[in-house]
Amino acid sequence: MSESQSSPTFAFSVERDGATGTVVARGEIDLASSPEFREAIHGLVDDGVRRLVIDLDAVSFIDSSGLGVLVGALKRVQEQGEDGGLVLRGLSGPALRVFEIAGLDQVFVLTS
């Protein structure tokens, strides 16, 4: 497991188990923190991860740039073929509301 913290209020950890990668994000995902988040996710997919779990349980804020990162992640895993998939875990509160407004709660697979 590796840990990263780009801004004082955003951090994430990455775990890898074969073709499955889990990213646990904490804090605020905005224009300042989303580039590092995107890079980590792209790195996993480039490195052979096909099933991606992104845990947003401890994410208190997400903006359009954060949504863009997740939409991009979905596209990337789907491009890997039939076995590619992305699950968003623990989405709730203010972050879930942003997904609903954008209509993206219908686009992603959400689990608790």
Partner: protein
Amino acid sequence: MTVPETADETPRAAPRGVELRIPADAAYLRLARLAAADTAARVGLGADAIDDVRLAVSELCALMTGSRTGIILRFEGDDGCVVVEGRGAPGPGIEGENGELARVLVEAVVDELRFEAVDGHATFRFTKQVEV
């Protein structure tokens, strides 16, 4: 939006509301959100409405980040209504899919919204009312 008339040495008498000036850099969006949430809480907005104001200010300021000027924000709260005004220059994020999504989100969460970006100037104004 009111801008100080002259460079006098003392603050204007009895100012209303809060003014925040930040560099047009993503690292300062969090402070813009904190000021927005603080104003919304002081006016008595509920938790969801506070989140809405926070999101709107963050997205609108993000549209102005990366420009060469700063961003000036004014927050006022009266009679259960928050008014936020902002001024800066359009940033690169204003174009493209994320800029569009940003505006969709803002329009969905505030009451009245004006956003203009012309001739290198960007301004916005929105209101958010306490639910009754």
